[in-house]
Symmetry: C2
């Protein structure tokens, strides 16, 4: 009955893509930048804000730290980007940190990276979409009560877009990303020029004071406080790895294009993050955790909603004109599309893991639009779960974020150092060796820095929510190990000996199950007889003696040339007596095979299914567990099923015709006796001859 | 995979009963009375109360009507019981009003009765259990917030008891019913004696006044008011029909026993209802709809819960001693067990309707304990739905009640009149004719009275909730008609011609579906070759050209003596290309049959199922819709499946052994080659020889 959902799926997803069109979905740089960079660029919209939230715990006293923390983040970003440029060149296959850690450190490290990335992709979706909704609410504060619903709707929208396929995604995402870049650069330029010309922008929250939760920090407490704020700033780094995981999606030359795109992305990211932070300092934006909005003195926390930092800066620089609303619109757009990085990365990683047999095989199956549909759906499910659990609050979700990212950063860069250690001695060209030595130094610095940040994040955010990730990662890790060992053991069991002897069963004992004499039974008897088995009998289970007697009488009257055996059923079951009898036949002649014919009639509607006993299905399932048996369904198609089948076939033909007309696929091979699918039979190639 | 639920079902339900033990579950009168009379007797616990609730709408002014309304109810009850005594004699097969109306008025009348009874059985459960919980809450007012949960738990308890089988139910229900009868008779006796000796009992609510919702009624309004109260009193009649529907469950002589039990039940019911009403009048019980408890002046409606009428009378007569608590305990017990009448009646009626093809066939399948398990589950489901929807409020549920009962009363008695009209002229013995004429008069009076009450109930309760039933009944009616026409049309389609020509298919074209070369594939190829079909080929769908090429190479290397055909799949699907190819083969030779072999491997755990693609199942389903095809599953059992199968077989053997040891079943016939099930092989009969 999987045919009806198939039809509606088709309507939702559009035409299916032919698999040899996969090449056409490769991305040029100008499209790859918005597709892969939206995550990193969009974090500009909340990274400054989340540092402010944490500094504001100390009231106004520590806000002076903001520029210095931003500087630290920018330096870290430069180190990480430099490291990834080495990685892209050495491992251009899109395995990213997973592949690097697996190959150079070992399977456990690789799986750790995989668990970390899977968790972080989910968080990317949750955080980005929530932040996007925040910016929409900054423009339309009346939407505040519908925060969670809006966020969930956007995740569903992204899911639908991504199920349609990569290329269409890229095209759809280019405009908002470029518009956001232009608007932020214009914002920063205008703001700095206004300041230079003496008309410094002033944020709406500049005159608010903040009631501190802690004060007079010193020693360890101060260090902890600063590091915690720095951790939140590190969200600006998320998304660097997207390009390393996406190299195969680039147009040729893949490596060069990926490296250039990475550099371009980093330059833009630093400029925008630095610029917005500078404007936030200049315009004196005061922003606190929305849960403690009442600590913001002068702000009406009962009725008002804090606008995001980017909204406050935008309103201060542009005024509330059309530019301001465009800024918010494109901030929201790029944030929601940033989640798209995860919709590209998660299914791809899931597919790699499924191919390596660490995740269920279904994640490696491409859907009609050549995307990994199941991965997309899993990602969307978990992201919605997080959004609903954390009320779409960026400040709460961000506590879970980046732990995974820095975990994979660290393992990936460590793996790269090992990679160079291994490959440098094998290289003979001194110039190349020099380059490789430089790469090793860069990766070593990267590993040291990201490892340090990983510890900082773990320590400062553990109690604030990161513990959830600390629990989830090992669970996913162990699950993947378990799945892998299952697949391995099944595969070992199914592996035939290289030259396995082919011994045919000596004889075939056929039995046709009979409950009453109707057309399906007669057809099953005919088919069974046509095959000419060694022995053939009809078998019925006696549940009601009267019915059995009537059956026997009718059997004799019709003179059916097959003996009818009656099985006793003290418990009025069907399955157990049949299985017992089949086993007894099999035991009497172990070298033979037992063929059980089950007459079935098929109906066309789900409600018709409800009206007919499911005992055939239950019996078939049990018989499949019995060795030396083959189970033969002989269907009788009722008229309602024929109508359904005709509809399914017509829909399929229409789809194929449309695909041929659109030039998406070539006309399929035509089988002997088949009607031509399209009206130009000259186009139709003849049947391939195989074997 | 239906085997594991089967095991747990077994644990819950106890040992399965052999079908020839059905005779042993017949009921003697002393057990039949509690089983079938609990519904009617238990309504004593709320009938008086619900009349009081309606009279109290007029404040204290109309309470004087109570004795007169009770008298009217008693007279009606006498008429109905007399009518049913005629029905039991004429139709002792347990079809009750359904059978009478069907045979004498027509199919539409029969189905109307059936719809009415189905609805009313559900309401019997909901009302009785809710009232039972009310009495428990009267004893322990602290339970008031858990009213709905308690009611649902009791329905679940009843469901479990009934799934265990009829006889055990009867035995479990005898004690509470008899105890309730004795306690109520003692209550009435004590109360009347105390009044006679001048120490009249006084209810706790005797001194409360009631704020009237209406006052100074006259003319039509007064008539409506009185009839509405009378309608509620008629709930005392529910359950009369239970015996008429249960005649086959009586020990022989069935008819005489059923008639005597009916008379006994009526006598008890009238005595108890009359007695409690008398005591309510004497002790001046004031009781209002719990939703307007604050109209009860002097009662603290914020914190207190009104105790049921029977609790108030009991406390006034006995005082709050052990007798009082026993009275409430057994009132609750008989009410909850009254729901059991429906658990006997509903599945039986459902099974009759399923046999007549008006309801899904599954309702006619007896479960392991020889009860109609599916009917029991459906009843429980709808009763829980009603209880939850109406907050387990008797006063609200009672508005939906008895409409169905009186609908079937009226049609049943009308049918009886027609029955006598038809049969009297055929009778030759004058004495018998006289008896039959008397019966006709009784049934005519019954039909007139119940018809009048039906109209009264419909008019007075329509807006108060009865409209739900007025909607539900035609829906059920039409559903049954639709189901019937479906079964009829399927049956016509499947009916073979009386001497249908047996034409065997000319040839068998076998194809083995191959995805990769592993043991299941090799086994399927072997089995297919062993059958020696006219043509045999292996078929694979090319989703990935590299994989297909690898398969072809391996195929050639192994020298498998079967040609391998590669099907093109532009959309990366498996199902559509295979179906297309099968259809083309079939079209080339329409008189032949196509045998499609599908290699499958079976796993033992549900989570293992998740890890393996379900494409085989989807393909099989689609192929069943293709004419001229048989679908052959060739299973390969993985070790985990063998463990599961071994557990299932051991459990089955243990069950059979236990049943043999308990003398429940005779040792089953032993098949050749089978190990003896029990250690005394001398007992085991030899295999029956059939055909």
């Amino acid at each position: 009955m999987a045919v009806l959902p198939d039809l509606s799926k088709r309507l939702l997803l559009g035409r299916a893509l032919r698999s040899d069109r996969l090449g056409e979905t490769l991305l040029p740089k100008r499209i790859a930048l918005p597709v892969f960079a939206s995550d990193m660029l969009s974090s500009v919209a909340y990274a400054t804000q989340e540092v402010l939230v944490l500094l504001a715990i100390g009231g106004l006293a520590y806000l002076y730290l903001l520029p210095w923390l931003a500087l630290a983040v920018v330096l870290l970003l430069l180190v990480v980007v430099a490291s990834y440029r080495q990685l892209v060149r050495a491992y251009p296959t899109g395995g990213g940190d997973y592949e690097v850690a697996s190959k150079n450190i070992g399977r456990t490290a690789g799986l750790t990276v995989a668990s970390a990335l899977l968790v972080d992709y989910v968080l990317t979706v949750a955080v980005s979409v929530s932040s996007g909704v925040d910016n929409i609410i900054s423009a339309f504060p009346g939407l505040d009560p519908h925060r969670v619903v809006l966020a969930v709707l956007f995740v569903l929208l992204l899911t639908s877009l991504n199920l349609r396929g990569l290329k269409e995604s890229g095209a759809a995402f280019a405009t908002p990303t470029y518009a956001f870049i232009v608007l932020v650069l214009a914002l920063v330029g205008t703001g700095l020029l206004r300041t230079a010309f003496g008309s410094r922008p002033v944020a709406e929250s500049a005159h608010y004071s903040i009631a501190p939760e802690v004060s007079h920090l010193s020693g360890f407490a101060l260090v902890f406080f600063v590091l915690r704020a720095f951790s939140s700033g590190c969200t600006a780094l998320t998304g660097v790895e997207a390009i390393a995981n996406g190299v195969p999606a680039f147009k040729k030359p893949k490596i060069e294009n990926a490296r250039k795109t990475l550099l371009m992305m980093a330059t833009l990211s630093i400029t925008m993050f630095g610029g917005i932070t500078a404007l936030a300092v200049l315009s004196k934006v005061h922003y606190v955790d929305p849960l403690r909005a009442c600590d913001l003195r002068g702000f009406d926390c009962k009725t008002d909603v804090q606008r995001t930092v980017i909204a406050q800066v935008g309103s201060a620089v542009f005024g509330e004109n059309v530019l301001y609303y465009l800024l918010l619109a494109f901030a929201a757009a790029i944030l929601i599309l940033a989640a798209n990085t995860a919709f590209n990365g998660f299914p791809l990683l899931g597919s790699v893991l499924a191919q390596d047999r660490f995740l269920p095989r279904q994640l490696h199956t491409r859907g009609d639009r050549l995307v990994f549909s199941n991965g997309i759906l899993v990602l969307a499910g978990f992201a919605i779960l997080l959004i609903v659990s954390f009320d779409a609050s960026v400040t709460r979700l961000i506590q879970l974020y980046i732990l995974g990212v820095f975990c994979s950063f660290t393992l990936g860069q460590t793996g790269m150092v090992r990679h160079w250690n291994r490959t440098i001695p094998l290289e003979t060209d001194p110039a190349v060796r020099r380059t490789m030595r430089t790469s090793r130094i860069i990766n070593a610095i990267g590993a040291a820095c990201t490892g340090t940040v990983l510890v900082i994040v773990l320590v400062t955010k553990f109690l604030a929510g990161a513990w959830i990730v600390v629990v989830a990662m090992p669970v996913i890790f162990l699950l993947m190990r378990k799945i892998n060992s299952h697949y391995e053991s099944v595969s070992r069991e199914l592996e035939p000996d290289p030259d396995e002897e082919v011994t045919l069963p000596a004889r075939t004992h056929a039995m046709v199950l009979v409950s009453k004499i109707h057309k399906p039974t007669l057809r099953a008897l005919n088919y069974a007889r046509a095959v000419r088995p060694s022995t053939l009998e009809a078998v019925t289970v006696s549940v009601d003696p009267d019915e059995t007697h009537a059956l026997q009488t009718e059997w004799d009257r019709r003179g059916i040339p097959v003996p009818l055996k009656v099985l006793d059923s003290p418990f009025r079951e069907i399955t157990a007596p049949v299985v017992r009898y089949v086993r007894s036949v099999r035991r009497s002649s172990p070298r033979d095979v037992v063929a059980v014919y089950i007459p079935e009639y098929v109906v066309g509607h789900w409600w018709e299914q409800l009206l007919h006993n499911q005992s055939a299905l239950r019996l078939k399932t049990r018989l499949l567990f019995t060795p030396g048996v083959m189970v033969i369904s002989v269907p009788w198609q009722l008229r309602s099923s024929e109508e359904l089948e005709a509809r399914v076939i017509e829909a399929h033909k229409a789809r194929v015709k449309a695909a041929i007309a659109a030039g998406v696929i070539a006309p399929p091979t035509r089988y002997p006796g088949e009607q031509p699918l399209v009206d130009a039979p000259a186009d139709v190639p003849t049947l391939k001859s195989d074997a």
